[in-house]
């Protein structure tokens, strides 16, 4: 029973971060209608920023959120503005050109980071990295609890932004109907920059939050890109609420898989869930939550 509860707790804590990753992806998915296959790689760049600040200046990873998020926001805006949006004007057969572009962007980001930082494993070990506290028999990792707390705050902030602000409303309107939104005078191009920037900043935040407990190397992006789309498919493509459910579900599934099946299956569990959802719940949790 304790093992079960322990697994439940660690899965849920990890799920909070996954939700953040998934929300970033689903936001982009909703507005641009494309899957961003550079999502994990963008997160990886954010992690390297955090790592550099830590290694060079000893900046606490949590503090570097204030650097990594804006920096990656700018990176996201740049990618959208100079690489993705121009593709909309070109007449081509493949509608997936933008998706392919994100693959290329992901490759470039990975290799540039390898060029700078080599393939070696890096980490930002802090005094609290291994700290835990106990509730009964169940151990809680301190950094993961802080992460969950920050992730929840960011989720709330994101929802307030989407619901209350004009820009947020424009994003939602564009996601629902691009043409109608631009007829209503919304500058669709600007919305796409902001959305991609925002989605990137969110995943960068997740990466930064992971830094105290995780290790880092250039190829870490690919697996997280895959996790991101599994989360989105679980939640229903384009659904922000769904991404939260999807993130937590994936976190729990990975934790239970690692505990009760085998560690080496951890990466595969998400992918198998992906196929199962396609089979039995096409459309993901969105079908149930309707948001």
């Amino acid at each position: 029973m304790d093992l079960f509860l322990q697994t439940l707790v660690s899965g849920f804590l990890k799920g909070g971060l996954y939700a953040l990753i998934g929300m970033g992806m689903t936001l982009i998915m909703g507005v641009m209608g494309i899957i961003n296959l550079a999502h994990g790689q963008i997160m990886m760049v954010g992690m390297y920023i955090t790592y550099s600040l830590f290694a060079l200046y000893g900046v606490d990873p949590y503090l570097s959120l204030f650097v990594s998020m804006p920096a990656i926001f700018v990176l996201g805006v740049t990618i959208q503005k100079y690489l993705l949006n121009p593709l909309l004007r070109a007449e081509t057969i493949l509608p997936e050109n933008q998706v392919l572009m994100t693959v290329g962007v992901g490759m470039v980001l990975t290799e540039v980071m390898r060029f700078i930082f080599t393939s070696d494993y890096k980490s930002a070990r802090t005094s609290y990295s291994n700290a835990t506290f106990f509730l009964g028999e169940i151990s809680f990792s301190v950094p993961l609890v802080i992460d969950l707390f920050i992730a929840i705050m960011m989720t709330v902030a994101l929802f307030l932004f989407l619901v209350k602000t004009d820009t947020g409303k424009s994003i939602r309107a564009t996601a629902q109907d691009k043409e109608a939104a631009s007829l209503m005078g919304i500058n669709a191009e600007r919305i796409t920059y902001i959305t991609f920037g925002l989605g990137s900043a969110l995943v960068a935040a997740a990466g930064t939050l992971l830094m105290p407990i995780f290790y880092l190397f250039p190829d870490i992006g690919g697996p997280f890109t895959r996790k991101a789309f599994v989360i989105c498919v679980l939640g229903g493509l384009g659904s922000t609420v769904g991404a939260i459910f999807g993130g937590i579900t994936l976190g729990l599934a990975e934790a239970f898989g690692a505990t009760y099946v085998a560690m080496e299956f951890e990466d595969m569990i998400g992918l198998v869930m992906f196929i199962l959802v396609l089979l039995f719940l096409p459309g993901g949790f969105k079908r149930i939550t309707k948001i």
Partner: protein, 351 residues
Amino acid sequence: MKVKNRRMMTAPLAALLFLLVFPLFVSNDYYLHLMILALMWVMIGSAWNLLAGYTGQVSFGDAAFFGTGAYTAGLLVNHLGWSPWWGIPLGGVTAALLGLPFGWICFRLRGAYFALATLALNEIMRHIATIWESLTDGMVGIMILQTFYAPIDSPIGELSSKTPYYYIILFMAVFSVSTVIWVMNSKLGYYFLSIREDQDAAESLGINTHYYKMISLGIAAALTGLAGGFYMNYMGFIDPETVFSLHDISIMAILVGIVGGVGSVYGPAVGAFIMVMMQEAFRTGGFGLLDAFAEYTGSQFVATSASLITGAHVLGFGVLVVLVIRYMPNGVVGDWSRLMKFILGRFQRQV
């Protein structure tokens, strides 16, 4: 419906003639090896193009089918003691058997699901090949004895051991391109194009879009599996990281299609040769030219940059992806007139 007049046939026929006599004049193993790889990519690229360029269903996980074909061949040798050559046709069959039910699942949904699912399938297959050690030997991979490894005596002199492989893959590549041409001139072709253009309209023409998308995937998977079976025979060694590689197989397949020209019959064939040469040029630092140049000038700077460029060949590849999609989204064949205008314009201005 694309290949109508004779004039459009001259260039491909001339190319085929050239390819037929190539090994008679070039016996260098290295060049033959590059040509064999390029021809293999003609197959894979044409298959990808049938599904993506003509049916509009972009696969990001061709390695799943390629690797399945390769592993079929390898496992037949290791576990049943069959000749690896059986692995080519059977590799095509197993790849199709993987593709059809997979297509049945994912094509029920429209939109990004198929692309995502192919990516997932790619990873799942790689994990299975890695984890299921009792069957596949996991990361160790599969090694088989190649059929041709020594130079072959012939009436016209000694031939490279690669010559038989060359002609086999040439035949397979021609078979693939012909299959695509044949398909695109039949009912299937019209149905594939209709699906690509508008799925609702296609349904209203009486087209079972779900079924025909599966057929397209089945054909593409089978051709890719055949290529995988050949790869096992030719290389004699496979492991999960090479044949189920996302970058080296799946993304490469997409690049071959895009660089050559999506939705054109000969586009992927052209793209295959360009991409194999590019890959090799990056990998070897301009076929060793950079190194030679560094030695010639004795410049430390050139030597360093040569080793940097060789080290960063994946970066070069990534940059290429970005540039091609940004500036030549219809590929060499699709954007041929634009490309010519650009080059000729430059030229005329200089004159």
